[in-house]
C-alpha cells in the first residue's frame, strides 16, 4: 500500500500518521523523528519569540514548511477567547489556515472543555479556518462539532501524554459510523499497537507525540508506529472476521483416517 492518500478541504494528506514536535531532546532529533515517521503533518505550538536570546534556533529551520504540512495548535488555552486569539496569531504567522483547536478544561486531565470547544469551532470556521478540534470520545459532541463547521474531528484515545491507549473503542466506532468528516485520533497512544487499534477501527489517521518523544529511542518508535499505522489501515480495509464464542476448525474433517 504505497499510496493511500486522503483529502480534507481540498488538501491531500499522504500519511495517516500525524506527528507532534513537543518534548524532543533538540531540533535535530525532532527532524530525524519526523523523517523516520513518514508523516507529512507535523503539529506545532504558538509561543512568544525569545527576545532575550535572539540567536536561539527556530523550529522551522529544521522542518521545511514546503515539505511538511505545519498544523499549529492552541495547546495551553483554557477558554474560547484565548483559543481564538492563538488561532488567529497562528494563521498570521503565515503557514496555513489549519488549526488543531484545543480548549482545555482541566490541568490535571487536559480533557477538552467541549462547550468552549464548540463555540471556538463555530467562530473559527466562520472565519475560514480549517478547524481540527481535539475532543472527547463522545459521538454526540463529534456531530455537534461537525455541524459547527469542523473539517475533521480529533477524539482522544486517552488523556494527553498518558499512553493508556484506546480506552473506548466502542465510542470511536460510533463516532466513525455517524461522522461525515474524517476522524483522527489525537492523544492517548502509548505504543505502536495502540495506533494499529485506532486504524483497525477505521480512523482516518492518528496524531501522536508523547509515545514517540518519550520513548527510549524516539526514531525507532516513530518507525514502529509508521508500520503499525500501515498495518492497522490495511487490516481495516481487509475487514476483520466476526468474533465468535466457539471454535471453527481451520483444517478439513474430510480425509481423516
Amino acid at each position: 500500500m504505497l499510496k493511500d492518500n486522503f483529502i480534507i478541504r481540498g488538501i491531500e494528506f499522504k500519511s495517516r500518521f500525524w506527528i507532534g514536535t513537543g518534548k524532543y531532546k533538540d531540533f535535530e532529533e525532532t527532524a530525524r523523528v519526523i523523517e523516520a515517521s513518514g508523516a507529512d503533518v507535523v503539529t506545532v505550538a504558538v509561543r512568544r519569540v525569545n527576545i532575550i536570546d535572539r540567536n536561539s534556533p527556530n523550529l522551522l529551520d529544521f522542518i521545511d514548511p514546503g515539505k511538511y504540512k505545519i498544523l499549529p495548535n492552541t495547546a495551553g488555552c483554557y477558554n474560547v477567547e484565548d483559543a481564538v486569539r492563538y488561532s488567529r496569531l497562528a494563521r498570521e504567522a503565515g503557514v496555513s489556515d489549519m488549526i488543531k483547536l484545543e480548549v482545555i478544561g482541566d490541568e490535571k486531565t487536559l480533557f477538552p472543555d467541549t462547550i468552549g470547544l464548540l463555540k471556538a469551532t463555530e467562530i473559527l470556521a466562520k472565519e475560514g479556518f480549517i478547524v481540527f478540534p481535539y475532543t472527547n470520545d463522545d459521538p454526540i459532541m463529534a456531530k455537534r462539532l461537525e455541524d459547527a463547521g469542523a473539517a475533521a474531528v480529533m477524539p482522544l484515545g486517552a488523556p494527553i501524554g498518558s499512553g493508556l491507549g484506546i480506552r473506548n473503542p466502542y465510542n470511536l466506532k460510533i463516532i466513525l459510523e455517524s461522522a461525515k468528516v474524517p476522524v483522527i485520533v489525537d492523544a492517548g497512544v502509548g505504543i505502536a499497537s495502540d495506533a494499529a487499534v485506532a486504524m483497525e477501527l477505521g480512523c482516518d489517521a492518528v496524531l501522536i507525540n508523547t509515545a514517540v518523544a518519550g520513548a527510549k529511542e524516539p526514531v525507532l518508535m516513530a518507525e514502529a508506529i509508521k508500520y503499525a499505522v500501515w498495518a492497522g489501515r490495511l487490516a481495516y480495509k481487509a475487514g476483520r472476521i466476526p468474533k465468535k464464542l466457539y471454535a471453527t476448525a481451520s483444517s478439513p474433517i474430510e480425509g481423516m483416517l
Partner: protein, 65 residues
Amino acid sequence: MKIKINGEELRTDRRVLSELLEELNIQPGRVAVEVNLKIIRKADYDTHPIMEGDNIEIVNFVGGG
C-alpha cells in the same frame, strides 16, 4: 520611548514595526505580531507606527503536540 515586548519593558527609537523587528533580529516571515491586542498584517509592518507605551506580542512556532 518605552514599550513592552513579550512582557519585557524595552526602550526603542524605531518608528515603525518592520524597523523594530529588524532591531530585534526577527525574520518577519515566521512570526505573528499583536500590538495592543490587535494583530498587525504582515503587509502593514512597514507602515505600522510604534507608539509610547505599546504592548507588543511577537509569537512564533515551537515544538508542540
